[in-house]
Amino acid sequence: MAETVVFARPQALAPVTTHYCPGCTHGVIHRLVAEVLDELGLRERTVGIAPVGCSVLAYNYFATDFHEAAHGRAPAVATGIKRARPDLIVFAYQGDGDLASIGMAEIVHAANRGEKVTVVFVNNAIYGMTGGQMAPTTMPGQVATTCPLGRDVNLAGYPIRVAELLATLRTPAFVARAAVHTPLHAVTAKEMLRRAFRYQAEGTCFSLVEVLSTCPTNWGIPPVEATAWVEKNMVPYYPLGVFKTPDGPDRAPRPAPVVEA
């Protein structure tokens, strides 16, 4: 009987080992993006943008053309590429320090201009690459090297919910949050990524998928515990789902929720 390969490395993922720590879900997210590119047949006209963060070497892992960006500026680089070559599929892969801290202005404005690019936003509640400093997404009380006693919301505020923040803008049209800490979450994440790239390929709109991810190394717990930590601590604060769709009611002018008139 003939054997079929039902699960294997997608073509858009280069056949190399990553430098990611054991159990780091950056690897899962890479694979999901690559699978989507393969399935939609986009690989040969895709340019990815590597951020500064643990995924800085993403250009070695994807079998697509790649472009570097300065820390936090991937949406600006994406804008440059997409405006120069609207026929290309452009995606930025960014961490939470990169996108939500130093790169806040760039993501808000690329989204608000409605750049027809896709942003894969990996929220692991920490600065992975530099060794575990507090990110804007670090949970209240979570220990990081720059909040050694745990994030104090009186000094550093509450974690920023990027998907919700961007969804209040009128222009950007597909904004969702997914997770990959269990296989079934990963399946949904892939669905969302597929939608995001499809919208881009069809020239519809800007798309961003926030993906909750683990950092066992800097959280200081083993990978399996890290997945449980996502479920227990992150998912309640960062609800999963789609916050904005191009055909949804909220593409229309959003009436602002005025508390007191």
């Binding site: 590597a50 250009y59 697509t64 053309d65 790649f66 440059g80 202005a105």
Partner: protein
Amino acid sequence: MAKKLMKGCEAIGEAAVKAGCKLFFGYPITPQNEIPEYMAHRLPQVGGTFVQAESEVAASNMIYGAAGSGERVFTSSSSPGISLMQEGISYIAGSELPVVIVNIMRAGPGLGGILPSQSDYFQATKGGGHGDYRLLVLAPWSVQEAADLVQDAFDLADFYRNPVMVLGDGLIGQMMEPVEFKPERTPCKPLAPKEWAATGCSGDRPTNIVNSLFLDPEVLERHNQKLKAKYDRMVRDEVRCASYGTDRPYDVLVVAYGTVARVSSTALDDLRGEGVDAALFRPITLFPFPHAELRAAAEKAQEVLVVELSTGQMIEDVRLALEGRKPIHFLGRQGGMLISPEAVAEKVKAIQASSAEVRRG
């Protein structure tokens, strides 16, 4: 094409269009607002794209991306905005991408003022960003030359795969002069196809990666040395300068660039009337600086006068060129104050007088 009276900023914009640049990303700042404004109106006419970036930081990364995809692109700003681009410029240089950056300098530091200045010379020529890199820096002295140099800048950028800066002061941006664009322009350098660009890999070609990261120090060192070799090549091949009145003997050699050189040339005309022997040396490329040419020109002079709209920046390159061979004097104005032909002439006469006195003993 007939001559047209144009503002420097507009001529710069039109020159970019003439050079085949269809992409502009930039952020408003005086005294160069007319560049983005011109591009916003002009680019759609030629099927190009104008994007007002949210900041200069973003603009420098937008041109980074656009250049990485192999298209001609440029941005412009003025001093504080250029400071914000330093990280981006360093990335672009490190990734060996061709971009053109126009800096219409105003007075600093900080918010300073908006009037003309030349106080970003160090930033432009020594590298305001981190790491070992250089910009090729062109300094026009008229609106026509601004238009010409901007067109050359695109060719030089493509040829060297390096950012090229056109450095003018507020006067260059704001004044109007007649400009002529040649109907058919041949690039000033041979241009190769941009096979390195990240434009999607077809099945057979290996992926292209636009990148300045080299974690292995040996690899990064080789990269740095490759860049250095490129800069050395510029030093060898790209020096541009002009001199005026160096055909006759002279006592004082005035060294100035940009509009200040223009002003100085009038001073020389006036001085000739008064029987004073002076000549003008004008670097057009600030990096590579015309060290040898300047040294040769200074051989014939008794004294050298450097004139700048700063507290003295190019003077360091003049000192490096002359290595103590001639006394060097300085005339500078700052803060947006201009230098008049009269002021230059006076300074030259004072130098000549005291030098003659010394020689008489």
